[in-house]
């Protein structure tokens, strides 16, 4: 059973269509990357999934059910704009919000200590939230999001404002949660994080689905017929290469439709050229995103 199943979701604000016939699903043990430009409809989609607002049409099912109060305890949500009760200490905030998720205080305290340790925040547990930096506050909210062991986790920009060390810590925790079978929706503008973490990607623009597929398949689908080559010296003429583009330390060779990367590699070997790097060009998700959004605008 899918953790989240969204069918033909539509939402309009006055004359602006925020979500337009959106359908997707998230399975347990999967991270779905939700990406799109600003105003694409990501936040509206998340709010509808979490039942903060009602769609004009379409159906959302969480673990096969319409959203209800009991289901809320199985969901963890980290909003994009984060705020904390400023006068509470980190541990008090965690314990209060975890109690609202039905957690026993002793168990919550034990789990909080583990997560605070994992995120390097244990020494700040008794510090008031107003005395913490933005990044620290974000970590506290991330802990609040996952402390009750939810089956569905919705993360909206979880890495913004975090230093590389803590980013890696959070990334590892998210990866572990996926391995434990949690269904995760990750909304972010950091394409590299989507590439590193997500199994599938849902790209939306103007409320519509622009791309919805497996990340490996997406890369294959948008792969250009080109190779990146770095060699010592000059690269002479190579049959099958129709264009070339110099970059800082390498050259990208664009191949004719009937030419394969293996053919080029064989030619280079035959010419006795010392190869420092040879790589089949794979477009980054960022490139794919930009191309698709531009194409959609055109």
């Amino acid at each position: 059973m899918a953790a989240v199943e969204v069918s033909h979701l539509c939402k309009t604000y006055a004359d602006v269509t925020a979500v337009n016939d959106l359908s997707f699903s998230v399975d347990p043990g999967e991270i779905l990357g939700l990406i799109g430009p600003n105003g694409a409809g990501k936040s509206s989609t998340i709010k509808i999934i979490l039942d903060f607002m009602r769609p004009d049409s379409g159906v959302v099912k969480i673990f096969g059910q319409q959203m209800n109060e009991a289901l809320k305890d199985q969901i963890g949500y980290l909003p994009e704009e984060r705020g904390l009760y400023k006068k509470l200490t980190a541990i008090d905030l965690i314990l209060y919000l975890s109690s609202l998720k039905g957690m026993d205080k002793a168990m919550a305290e034990e789990k909080a200590n583990v997560l605070l340790e994992q995120t390097g925040m244990l020494e700040y547990k008794n510090k008031k939230n107003k005395e913490m930096s933005k990044g620290m506050g974000q970590l506290i909210q991330f802990i609040v999001t996952i402390i009750h062991d939810p089956d569905l986790i919705v993360l909206d920009e979880p890495f913004s404002g975090l230093d590389p060390v803590r980013t890696e810590a959070i990334q590892n925790i998210i990866g572990n949660l996926r391995d434990e079978g949690k269904a995760i929706i990750l909304s972010t503008h950091q394409m590299n994080k989507v590439e590193e973490l997500c199994d599938r990607v849902l790209m939306i623009n103007k409320g519509r689905t622009v791309l919805y597929s497996d990340l490996v398949e997406t890369r294959a689908k948008f792969r250009r017929n080109s190779v990146q080559v770095a060699i010592d010296g000059e690269l002479g003429d190579l049959p099958g290469v129709i264009d070339r583009k110099l970059t800082n330390s390498s050259v990208e060779l664009f191949l004719a439709p009937d030419t394969t990367p293996q053919t080029i590699l064989d030619q280079l070997r035959e010419q006795g050229i010392a190869i420092n790097r040879f790589e089949v060009t794979t477009p980054s998700l960022n490139e794919i995103f930009l191309n698709l959004v531009r194409a959609d605008h055109e």
Partner: protein
């Protein structure tokens, strides 16, 4: 555990732990004590320590008014003519004088002369003169007890009966009106406190998006009920503290002031309603001032 109760508990504890709440709860009684104390001090210092006896002259043109000239706080001094009485008034030997004209028994008119500018004659003077006149008019025909009864004919004791004709357990008195009034004020204050705190709290949570986190755990109904009950309870608690403190500390303070300055042995008896209204008014002002400063 019930989520509404969890929100109630959290919000209540947060509300009563706030420095503003603690200061306001305990500063208002102190301010009230100081203010009432100052008022009492000024009143005590300005009022005469020994009640002065007023001398009132009278000219009896009828010739029957001679007894009961000592009416306690008023002493009546006879004059033979209006001129003598006027001279005495100008010399301030008397504070005023009255003339009982010869046709008094038929006209009922008494003339009063004074140097003071006043809208109406002081009621106590009027009452004592009435008593003097009545006593002398009836002295030959009626017993003194009857005269006293005529002068003060009414001391009304009201007893409320129930529908069976038995004495009702609850007798109508001023307390039955004031106490509900005071509690209405308490309720209004508690509501005002909860409404203001609720709105500012929700605005803060909405602004910080914390409300989204809360709504991912609880329903709107649970959140609002928990908050309203908690803030209402905190407001009532505060008003209760003010109500309790409006009796004993102030009474002790007043007793002290009176003992120091006047050596009065009696315990000051301010009407409780006056305390309550004063306290609640002061607290409302303090609370509004604080709320407006914050926003």
């Amino acid at each position: 555990m019930n989520k509404t109760y969890l929100i109630f508990k959290h919000e209540f504890l947060q509300a009563i732990k706030k420095v503003g709440f603690i200061v306001l709860t305990f500063i208002v009684p102190v301010l009230a004590l100081v203010a009432i104390g100052l008022f009492e001090l000024v009143t005590t210092l300005t009022e005469p320590s020994v009640k002065e006896v007023t001398t009132v002259g009278y000219v009896d043109e009828v010739g029957i008014f001679s007894e009961q000239t000592d009416q306690g706080l008023i002493k009546l001094v006879p004059f033979t003519s209006r001129e003598d009485a006027t001279q005495a008034l100008v010399r301030r030997d008397v504070s005023e004088y009255i003339v009982i004209p010869s046709d008094y028994t038929s006209s009922g008119t008494i003339q009063r002369y004074t140097l003071a500018k006043e809208l109406i004659p002081p009621p106590i003077t009027t009452h004592l003169i009435e008593s003097f006149l009545a006593w002398n008019l009836l002295k030959d025909d009626v017993s003194p007890e009857v005269i006293t009864a005529i002068v003060s004919p009414l001391n009304l004791e009201v007893t409320r009966l129930d529908e069976n004709g038995d004495i009702a357990q609850e007798q109508g008195n001023i307390g039955n009106i004031i106490i509900p009034g005071v509690f209405s004020l308490l309720l209004a204050l508690a509501l005002q406190f909860s409404a203001m705190s609720l709105v500012s709290g929700l605005a803060e949570e909405k602004e910080s998006r914390l409300i989204d986190v809360l709504f991912s755990s609880v329903s709107v109904r649970q959140l609002l009920i928990g908050k309203v009950l908690a803030l209402g309870t905190a407001g009532l608690l505060q008003a209760l503290v003010w109500l309790i403190s409006s009796t004993s500390p102030v009474a002790l303070g007043l007793l002290l002031i009176r003992r120091i300055f006047k050596h009065h042995s009696d315990t000051p008896q301010l009407p409780p309603s006056r305390h309550c209204v004063f306290y609640l008014g002061l607290s409302a002002i303090c609370r509004n001032f604080r709320w407006y400063r914050r926003h």
